[in-house]
């Protein structure tokens, strides 16, 4: 039986929850919820950015490395999907295909 891969949004949501300590809080994170208002700081954003790049094996373009990219799950997922269309970060590395 084939094991389905998590979507980009699911992966981003999981990593956001870790960085913002939302696991076990009971908070239902909406895809358009402003992470900065939820308490994200420049340092948690830094950790989130690195963990997303490591987990999804992507590289955000320089112009995407700004606060607005990391505003919510939707904006982050959009930036990830855009990056996935670029050349993989590591040569020969298999691309992660986002589900539509």
């Amino acid at each position: 039986m084939a094991v389905s891969q998590p979507s980009v949004a699911d992966t981003v949501r999981r990593l956001v929850a870790v960085q913002l300590n939302l696991n076990g809080s009971g908070h239902e994170l909406r895809s358009d919820e402003d992470l900065w208002r939820l308490g994200m700081t420049s340092l948690t954003c830094l950790g989130l950015m690195l963990s997303i790049e490591d987990t999804l094996q992507i590289e955000f373009p320089e112009e995407a490395l700004q606060d607005s990219t990391f505003r919510c799950i939707n904006t982050i997922s959009a930036a990830v999907n855009s990056s996935l269309k670029q050349v993989p970060r590591i040569a020969g590395e298999k691309r992660l295909q986002p589900r539509s």
Partner: protein, 504 residues
């Protein structure tokens, strides 16, 4: 190195072939060209834009001081002491350097604009000033250099606001300053007079193979073949090297954007010496440097940034103007600003220079000098010329460009340093906290920030306070730092446990 005449493209007057091509027309590049011409090693072409807009040299205060720059870190480890002694040795070369340049000076003004310094200890810069001031006195004694404690009121020109007045002051009779822009102009004149070719252009990329570099390509596509290419392009050096040698082990270089201004005194007693605070708050301390002709140089800020530019932040203008008035001379308020100086210091991840042959034949790197480039340039020129000629160098091989980062501190030490610099910045800028909040509590806040930054970066290499601050506020910079440290992680873990420092 075989000596040849340069070859030129027909009708253009531009060289197509040279023994040595130096990329960069700042102090490092020009002093090296001067040294090579003096040794008659062959043809020398220097490439760099004459405006030097983003360069550090054209904006430099050019204090000939190494002891005035002393901090608690300067002599704490073997590696730091090695770098410090570069400055000590360089200092001795300046009298002869200035004598040789005198006839090429662009004006009647002397190139050396001050022959002495006064270091002030005021209470604005917090505890960091105090410990760095003490470290300076200790260093002066260790190296048997002259100094004398004097009353701050006796410093010519020194006239601060009462609340910012100095508590102590020291006179250093052998640490002065030069007119950086005058020295660069003199060097250019001398080089042209002696047959060097100075091209007012920029290099787009290096040309070569996986084994060697054979030429440079200018922005307009013009090629110059070279026996040796020396990259001395300051903060641009890393990206230039990466056009032909793009490896993850190459240490990152960050732009240390600095701002200073040259003002015309309109009244009051002029400064006749360098007057400065100790290094403080992620930067080189507040200073005034006489420029001759009634002009005074006020500097300088230091801000690590992502993008190389010649812009000036309004916050930096405010900072420099306000604190020059408060801490140096309240008459500064009516000075007339004659020139805004903005430049990018080449700041390596470990804070040490990158000087030496690269793995590709024919490619030499000479950068990463941070604040010391101008002062150390004559000494480094002699060293690099030796190496280009196949002779022994005169500086420690510690600064080899493909080294692992030099470790001079533990992570815990790094966090303490960061806290001290942050508190210094807090108090100097007059930030306000709730009355019941103690300095210790403020320190705890910064300490927590630093601890968290290390956790997020996944770093076990101990960063300097300026790099740590930069990593916290810039996602791109943090990513560069994190990736580089992962690349060299194994070696660094060993280095961080050392208390004496060294290259790894």
């Amino acid at each position: 190195m075989r000596s040849t005449e340069p070859e030129f493209a027909a009708g253009t007057g531009r060289p197509t072939k040279s023994n040595v091509v130096i990329i960069g027309n700042g102090a490092l590049g020009l002093f090296l060209a001067d040294e090579l011409i003096e040794r008659q090693v062959g043809s020398v072409v220097v490439v760099g834009p004459s405006h030097r807009d983003t360069g550090a040299s054209q904006a430099a205060g050019a204090m000939l001081g190494c002891f005035g720059e002393t901090t608690t870190e300067s002599l704490r480890t073997d590696a730091a002491r090695t770098r410090f002694e570069l400055g000590v040795s360089a200092h001795d070369k300046w009298p002869e350097t200035l004598r040789r340049l005198k006839e090429f000076a662009p004006s009647d003004q002397p190139l050396q604009t001050a022959t002495e310094s006064h270091i002030i200890l005021n209470s604005i810069g917090a505890e960091l000033d105090t410990v760095n001031f003490a470290a300076m006195l200790d260093a002066l004694d260790q190296y048997d250099k002259p100094w004398k404690e004097i009353a701050p009121d006796d410093i010519p020109g020194y006239n601060p606001r009462t609340e910012s007045r100095a508590l102590r002051a020291v006179h250093l009779p052998t640490e002065g300053a030069v007119d950086a822009r005058g020295v660069l102009a003199s060097l250019e004149r001398q080089l042209r007079d002696r047959g060097a070719i100075l091209l007012n252009q920029t290099v787009r990329k290096l040309i070569g193979s996986e084994e060697e570099v054979t030429a440079v390509e200018l922005d307009d596509g013009h090629l110059i073949e070279a026996g040796t290419v020396v990259v001395a392009a300051g903060v641009h050096s890393e990206s230039l090297v990466r056009t032909v040698f793009d490896v993850p082990e190459l240490m990152p270089i960050f732009p240390g954007l600095g701002f200073a201004m040259i003002a015309k005194r309109t009244g009051g007693e002029p400064f006749t010496s360098v007057v400065r605070t100790p290094n403080r708050g992620f930067a080189c301390g507040l200073h005034v440097v006489p420029q001759g002709g009634g002009l005074e140089y006020y500097g300088a800020t230091n801000r690590l940034v992502q993008t190389i530019s010649s812009t000036t932040w309004m916050a930096d203008v405010r900072f420099l103007a306000q604190y020059s008035m408060q801490q140096l001379d309240e008459r500064v308020a009516s000075h007339e600003i004659m020139k805004w100086c903005s430049g990018n210091r080449p700041v390596t991840l470990d804070g040490f220079p990158l000087v030496g042959w690269m793995p590709l034949a024919g490619l030499y790197l000479m950068t990463g000098t941070y604040r010391d480039g101008f002062h150390c340039a004559p000494l480094l020129a002699e060293h690099v010329a030796n190496e280009l000629q196949g002779k022994s160098g005169i500086i420690d091989p510690l600064f080899q460009p493909m080294r692992k980062p030099v470790a001079t501190r533990t992570v815990e030490w790094s966090i303490d340093e960061y806290v001290q610099h942050s508190l210094a910045g807090w108090f100097e800028t007059g930030a306000q906290a709730a009355p019941q909040m103690t300095t210790s509590q403020l320190g705890d806040y910064y300490r927590n920030m630093a601890v968290r930054a290390y956790e997020q970066l996944g770093a076990d290499y101990a960063l300097g306070p300026d790099i740590l601050l930069y990593a916290q506020g810039n996602l791109n910079g943090a990513r560069r730092i994190a990736r580089y440290l992962r690349t060299i992680r194994g070696e660094v873990a060993q280095a961080a446990r050392s208390s004496t420092g060294g290259a790894w």
